[in-house]
């Protein structure tokens, strides 16, 4: 099998697979699903923070927030382009999102209740995203890896901005401090869930981790990434003065890691199944925007069509003119 052996050779040599390279159908499908989910997450992820643009409490914060939501739209576009190199177009992917056939990160089904949530999203959610994404910069599929390099650069910027929002709140009035603490209380556990269900030890057999690792689209297990994340965030929380909402959280000298309490996976599965606070809202918002904009996209296509036809005519006319 030529396809298989060339592909395996590239993987073995830690080379990038490029769109022109032959690849196993399963690899292609897995990548489409993963990149699409990632792109959808960027697009849906615009909503929880977009909700605060009109209410940002200062002009500086408003400007930063607009720029951030814009970046997310941009990330969505890179990622849809990366998926398109696998032979599927954006229109089709958006339809799968709108029909619920493809998912987006479940974290965006939690609501943004206060301004501090913009900080918590930057700090915790973007922090977890980076932890997930940095290894993807070395992903075996070239276009995806290159998109991730660009995305990661901007994400780490966003994470710093989120930290800064919380930093200012924790140094502000009592109400501001309470707001920051409350946001951390609500976002901490969902952020830990972002790494996905357990996939080491007993749980290693169930999921896709092993295959994805073999294909070079996953470099670390969910549990390892989650541990890394906890280890990184605890000192940052201390610096902020925020108490993370986990009584079991403590340094384990022996392991050289922080221990943390059990995650409520029932909640995770419930939200994933569609019964989170915002699942219905996120998709209906997205569909409404898409449907309301249909006539605009159609007009742009019609105009482009006419324009192409006209310049073809003109060219034909000119050729006739010069022939006469």
């Amino acid at each position: 099998d030529r396809v298989g052996s060339d592909f395996d050779a590239l993987l073995a040599a830690d080379q990038r697979i490029e769109p022109r390279d032959a690849m196993p159908e399963k690899y292609r499908e897995t990548l489409i699903r993963q990149i699409a989910q990632h792109a959808h997450s960027e697009i849906i992820g615009m909503q929880p923070e977009g909700n605060w643009i009109t209410r940002a409490p200062s002009l500086r914060r408003k400007a930063i927030l607009i720029a951030k939501v814009q970046d997310e739209a941009g990330h969505g576009l890179y990622l849809y382009s990366a998926a398109e190199t696998l032979g599927i177009d954006r229109q089709e992917l958006l339809e799968r999102l709108h029909d619920g056939k493809q998912k987006y990160s479940s974290i965006f089904n939690y609501p943004t209740l206060t301004w501090a949530d913009c900080g918590a999203i930057g700090w915790l959610v973007d922090g977890a995203a980076i932890m997930n994404q940095v290894p993807l910069c070395r992903c075996s599929y070239g276009p995806y890896a290159r998109a991730m390099i660009r995305v990661c650069k901007e994400e780490s910027f966003h994470q710093r901005q989120g930290f800064e929002i919380l930093w200012n709140l924790m140094r502000g009035t009592e109400a501001q401090q309470a707001m920051a603490q409350d946001a951390a209380d609500r976002w901490w556990w969902p952020a830990l869930m972002m790494f996905g269900p357990p996939d080491t030890g007993e749980a290693a057999k169930g999921g896709h981790t092993e295959q994805s690792m073999a294909w070079g689209i996953k470099r670390f297990s969910n549990d390892d990434l989650r541990q890394k994340f906890v280890d990184m965030m605890v000192p940052q929380a201390e610096k902020l003065g925020i108490v993370l909402p986990d009584p079991d959280l403590r340094w384990n000298e022996e392991r050289g890691h922080y221990d943390f309490g059990p995650i409520d996976w029932d909640e995770f599965w419930r939200v994933l199944r569609g019964d989170g606070a915002c699942n219905a809202e996120r998709i209906s918002h997205r569909r409404r925007a898409h449907d309301e904009g249909a006539w605009v996209r159609e007009a742009a296509n019609a105009y482009a069509g006419k324009h192409a036809a006209r310049s073809a005519e003109r060219q034909a006319g000119e050729q006739q003119g010069s022939a006469a």
Partner: protein, 234 residues
């Protein structure tokens, strides 16, 4: 500032992702222009007010924007009609203000000119596409041009601007009218649309703090968090 607020409402609501980005970008430019000018106004009027004092702590009667920019978000054609007129006017305005006797105003205008030229191009492109697109888009774009008409006279009203113009700092809005209209006429013609007649009623008073119904709600949304935490920094 007010138009930046309205444009930013498009984010997550635009017809395609590119447009979420483009309208966000225009909002950012306008917001940047406002932020560059507010502290300067605070210095000139001796109050020392900051950008957030102007944006977050000013009551409706103290706002000096035209009614055009405070109207609620309509459909995409409405937005492009508004953006077309607004940015055509801003192009002419900033081209003239770049020679202002006030060096801060001149510097802000010189930078803004590049930005608003892009905004005008963007709006023009869409007006042409929609006008010369499908039957539906043509109808919507023509209706949008009509809906925006009552708000145009105020763009060129001199009442509140005479003193600044006399001092060589500002520009008489009426002196921009013909050049703006020529720009619009060219775009509307290319879009195969018709420029509507003047309307029977005209918005007026924005420059003296007499606003239309949507303004109070816009401010409520924009200022609520800031007002809820007096003295806080963010």
């Amino acid at each position: 500032m007010v138009y930046a607020q309205r444009l930013a409402e498009w984010m997550t609501n635009a017809p395609q992702i590119e447009e979420d980005m483009a309208l966000g970008n225009i909002a950012l430019d306008l917001l940047g222009q406002a932020r560059a000018l507010y502290p300067h106004v605070g210095t000139l009027d001796g109050t020392g007010r900051s950008e957030d004092d102007f944006a977050m702590q000013r009551d409706e009667r103290e706002w000096r924007n035209v009614h055009l920019v405070e109207q609620e978000r309509g459909d995409f054609a409405d937005e492009m009609a508004r953006l077309l007129w607004f940015s055509a006017r801003q192009v002419e305005l900033h081209a003239r203000l770049a020679d202002s006797a006030d060096p801060v105003v001149a510097a802000v205008a010189a930078k803004a000119l590049k930005e608003v030229r892009y905004h005008l191009d963007h709006a023009s492109l869409w007006v042409v596409r929609l006008g010369d697109g499908t039957e539906e888009s043509r109808r919507r774009m023509q209706v949008a041009l009509e809906r925006v008409t009552p708000y145009l006279a105020e763009l060129f009203d001199d009442d509140a601007a005479v003193a600044a113009a006399d001092a060589g700092v500002g520009v008489l809005p009426s002196s921009l009218r013909d050049a703006v209209r020529r720009r619009i006429e060219a775009v509307v013609a290319e879009a195969t649309l018709e420029l509507p007649e003047a309307s029977t009623w005209h918005a007026r008073g924005g420059r003296s703090g007499i606003h239309s119904r949507p303004m109070g709600y816009l401010l409520a949304e924009m200022q609520h968090i800031a007002r809820s935490h007096p003295g806080a920094t963010w």
